[in-house]
């Protein structure tokens, strides 16, 4: 299953809800303001790094660049472009957007 999160983890609880419900082997794609969670130094960095042991964590590159965060991506996070976003949706049987 693919989980998509688009809200900042320091503003809303949607990333936390997602990580609590995502089962082992699932994919989590961070887009829009959620990409801050995939960067070094932030409050959510430890949660993402811990989660990456059981989950595949992706972040959308254009959203990282638009936020000045392209050079701060955490190890273990896979950066994808829009074509990669489409591939992830196509590869997974179902999607949940944590709006």
């Amino acid at each position: 299953m693919l989980h998509i999160v688009n809200k900042s983890a320091t503003d809303r609880g949607s990333l936390e809800s997602c990580l609590a419900m995502a089962t082992k082997g699932s994919a989590v794609l961070l887009i829009e303001d959620a990409v801050y969670a995939a960067t070094t130094g932030g409050a959510a960095a430890a949660k993402i790094q811990a989660a990456s042991a059981d989950l595949k964590i992706y972040a959308l590159g254009p959203d990282l660049a638009a936020r000045g965060m392209a050079a701060r991506v955490l190890d273990g996070v896979n950066v994808v472009d829009y074509a990669g976003f489409v591939d992830l949706v196509a590869e997974h049987k179902s999607c949940q957007s944590w709006l």
Binding site: K7, D11, E32, D33, Y36, G61, A65, G68, M69, D81
Partner: protein, 131 residues
């Protein structure tokens, strides 16, 4: 003298305005809208302070490149603010710390305030507008 001189049309009154920015850029329209209202307020010669706290500190990051998401890059506008006599830019220390950011990461010169200093600054305003 004419009667006009005795009428108070409100021009010439200067109030202290604080614009409180708490949202990251791009994910919502708040940051861009707030910036536009700040510029309008300054055109009326008001005493403007801009405050960046919580995710609002992300608005001031260097190295923003919005080409990939096809939206306007308004981050350079923050550097033009002093051309509009907006020189009071404040960021919240705790918000910076929580996001692993320092002043060196920011596109403009700012004054970093503790939460107590921020509270005092807010208390002395005539008008507080939140984005």
């Amino acid at each position: 003298m004419s009667d006009m001189d005795e009428m108070d049309d409100g021009s010439g009154i200067v109030k202290k305005f604080m614009f409180l920015n708490r949202k990251a850029p791009h994910g919502t329209v708040y940051a861009l809208e707030g910036l536009e209202v700040v510029l309008i307020t300054a055109a009326f010669d008001q005493d403007v302070s801009m405050v960046f706290t919580d995710d609002g500190v992300y608005q001031l990051l260097k190295g923003i490149d919005t080409k990939g998401i096809e939206v306007k890059d308004f981050s350079k506008t923050y550097r033009a603010l002093d051309g509009y006599d907006i020189e009071k830019l404040y960021v919240d220390q705790a918000s910076m710390d929580a996001r692993g950011l320092t002043e060196d990461d920011l596109i403009v010169d700012v004054t970093v305030l503790s939460v107590d200093e921020m509270a005092n600054l807010m208390a002395e305003q005539d008008v507080v507008i939140s984005f």
